[in-house]
Symmetry: C4
Subunit: 275 residues, 4 copies
């Protein structure tokens, strides 16, 4: 609370702007967020359409004009954010501050850089704007429950991902020995790529085992992948169940002001006072 | 109840017809629904078979005759529905009213329209009849539990789908930069299509990364998709668990006021009092 | 209990045989089952190996000899079963009775039938033996919990499968209109096949949309399939959770002798007696 | 405890070494483990890179030098482990003891063996080092919960895997009869491979049914695979839920003797007594 308070600038209009742009409690703040999301989605669509050759050749001028419009809009928004925040530098170096900056730079750079592939790569950075959609999350209470569940599950997830990575390294090495270069398994990293494609049940089919032993190994990899998908699912379900229960019982102890009591609790579990 | 009651026409036979056609409480109403489902399924099969060139050429006349039979049947049903409902317009503009109409129109239109692709497109609308199978749902108590669970999960689902869409836009843009047009990633929308194919673990293989960096990115996309499938699963499981509990236990012991009794319980499991 | 008792023949040795072959309570009965499973697995392997052309051509004689050995063994087993069961006809017409018979017939038929495709088809029936592995289930207590959970979930599963079938019919029809014959979507049934391949996230890639609209539709189908997999998972998890809880509390009421009490129950939920 | 105590050698420095290398309670022991994991990961990466032809040809000397460095390091580690453990033979014949030995042997063998495929196969054994990453698990409390859940689920898993194997044998045999050799289903084992690819929703597309009946069968296989993935997921979720509950609440209130308290509870949530 305190750090946020200190971010509010003293000047009246700066405080008002800050409230609209950075917060979502007032009707104006909510409307600003909704409009912003729509502008971001439209701008992302424009960048997508521009990447389609036929559309670029037919309507290139219109698309470029729209894109400049969006860029100027986002530039104005970025400057206002810098101005109305008290600690401009802290915002500028935060994750969303960097995203906001990187998303407008490419259009300006296109003025100085020559065309071609290099420019193309830089221009695609504009799509980072889509990350800002995630800011929407704090409007939805349910996002909090999901985030809490995923955060609680992070150690179990790390263990699971480590086990999967170990598994695909072993499976990839084995298939590399069994199948070898002629069948598309040209190196261990590529064989590990195949193992990931198989264990996650994606199954492109761009590389597939040809020998009997290789297909037997592939069958085991598939059954393993099919079965172990149950593990992350179980982890998230259990944590989500717990997070949902916490969500249900929002009672706060009147004595020690602490939350997190079970729904069937009659006494505070921290100080023992009656709830 | 009241709005339904008011829909029942005053005339005796209209009330009777309404009971049979729109409700499922009487044996006649139940039988009507079962017969209707079978007629719909058979009619859908006829349309399917007609789309197979070899069958159309060999047995076109028979299939067309059967189709006309079904169409006349559904036309009669549609008219009866309009007649026996009190507020015909409300039914005609409801979702199932429109489906009922759109499903019979194409056959009549085929009398006036010339053959070819245009007609083909229109004729396929007859398959919308399959939607009417969903009406069956209100016969099955379990459908209610499922629907309640999915409705309770809708906000969490929206958050999840937003996060997935953001993810595939970012992944699609990155792979577009890394692989480029020569390897099939001709535009950002097509690259996002690839990202969806990969993250959902469908994995057609019609577009697949060729470069090392692209395959590394694809591997990350697969592992992400493999892991985050756990999130919707967790959401539905938790909500279904809650909806099932509500279904089972709504009775409270009159003696000790405790809940959580099974549906088949005759005595309170805590104090032994009769429920 | 009674019906089982009456199946035991009066003759001493027939009763003993029945105990060994049909029951699994005695050490001899258990050992018989374990040996039988191994013989079935080996026999299934022999049939599999015989289907490989290179092995059939190189070791055909040995494989055929082994196969005759297994067939004679199973024939003896089948006759003994018929003899030692009191109601032979009831066994002969039961599911496993028919499987037992059908699994030995093809080898005898090969004596009378000429070779070629017809024989091949008949011979593959021997693989039905693998069904008998399922008899093993009654040795494992956990199989009971699984079966009870799946049985409890069957109505919800039916609703889910109906919804999925409706969905793939609609998706298949739409893609048929959008893509049409030139891109491999030659008929509505084939397009529905594609829709099933996509919604279940199998994704062969033998038929894949080529147009922009088709790929957009495919992307929606994938996301739907990715999300609704959560529904059967949730259904099974909730039912399994309930079945497992029942499994835990195995206390029987001393008053009314009924089971199925919750773990936290202090009184019988049927008659109210103290547990 | 006792058996572990007896493993600690009497000599001071051996005891100290044992503490650092085999245990993770002291800061030195923890740091040793972290460094070891990193060295293993780096060594695994080196072996992977060496398998890429272009890298091997360009930087073969450097890679081989690094590899020798790692091998000497692991050799020293192996000898120290043998020395500081009291029962050297028990360690040498344990799973991780064998992994530790097998992971260093190939590099030495390359001195005596001629090059080519045989050597390649042997060298890949160095990748077994990746198994040692799993030793990390005992640092993470969550790994214990996961392991306990999976161990509790093992019988149910066996039943499930048996049912899936039975299913793919039947499906594979049926598709072999329906499609036959010309469409890629050259033998029953290969057809079973296809069935596994399909039921697990991997869907390579290297073998795919061409006939109508075959595609109908494939559609059923897909829907079955799509639905039964729910079973292992349900199993793991239920067991994980139980394991997590055990982890959280083992304390009982001394006043009212009730359980189910959270791990951070200081007072009984039912009667308010201090725990």
């Amino acid at each position: 609370m305190n750090s946020r308070e200190s971010n509010v600038p003293r000047a009246r209009w700066r405080a008002r702007l800050h409230e609209i742009i950075f917060e979502a409690d007032t009707p104006a703040g909510k409307m600003f967020d909704v409009i912003l999301i729509w502008v971001i989605v439209l701008s992302v669509f424009t960048v997508m359409l521009e990447s389609v050759r036929s559309l670029r050749e037919a309507h290139g001028d219109i698309l470029r004009t729209i894109e400049w419009g969006f860029t100027l809009l986002f530039t104005v928004e970025y400057i206002i954010r810098l101005v109305c925040v008290q600690k401009a530098w802290r915002y500028a170096t935060s994750f969303f501050g960097i995203v906001d900056l990187v998303a407008i730079l490419p259009t300006y750079l296109s003025l100085f850089l020559p065309g071609g592939q290099a420019l193309l790569s830089v221009r695609a950075l504009r799509l980072l704007r889509v990350f800002r959609v995630l800011k929407l999350a704090h409007h939805v209470k349910e996002a909090g429950v999901l985030m809490r569940a995923l955060r609680a599950a992070r150690y179990k997830f790390t263990v699971f991902i480590s086990a999967v990575l170990t598994l695909v390294v072993i499976l990839g090495s084995l298939i590399y020995l069994v199948e070898g270069s002629p069948n598309g398994f040209t190196s261990i990293p590529r064989s590990i790529y195949w193992a990931i494609v198989t264990v996650t049940t994606v199954g492109y089919g761009d590389i597939a085992p040809q020998t009997n032993v290789g297909q037997f190994l592939a069958a085991i990899a598939m059954l393993l992948g099919y079965a172990i998908i149950a593990v992350p699912t179980g982890i998230v379900t259990v944590e989500l169940d717990r997070a949902s229960r916490l969500e249900v019982s929002t009672q706060v102890c009147r004595h020690c002001s602490r939350e997190g009591h079970d729904a069937d609790a009659a006494h505070c579990k921290f100080c023992g006072a009656k709830l």
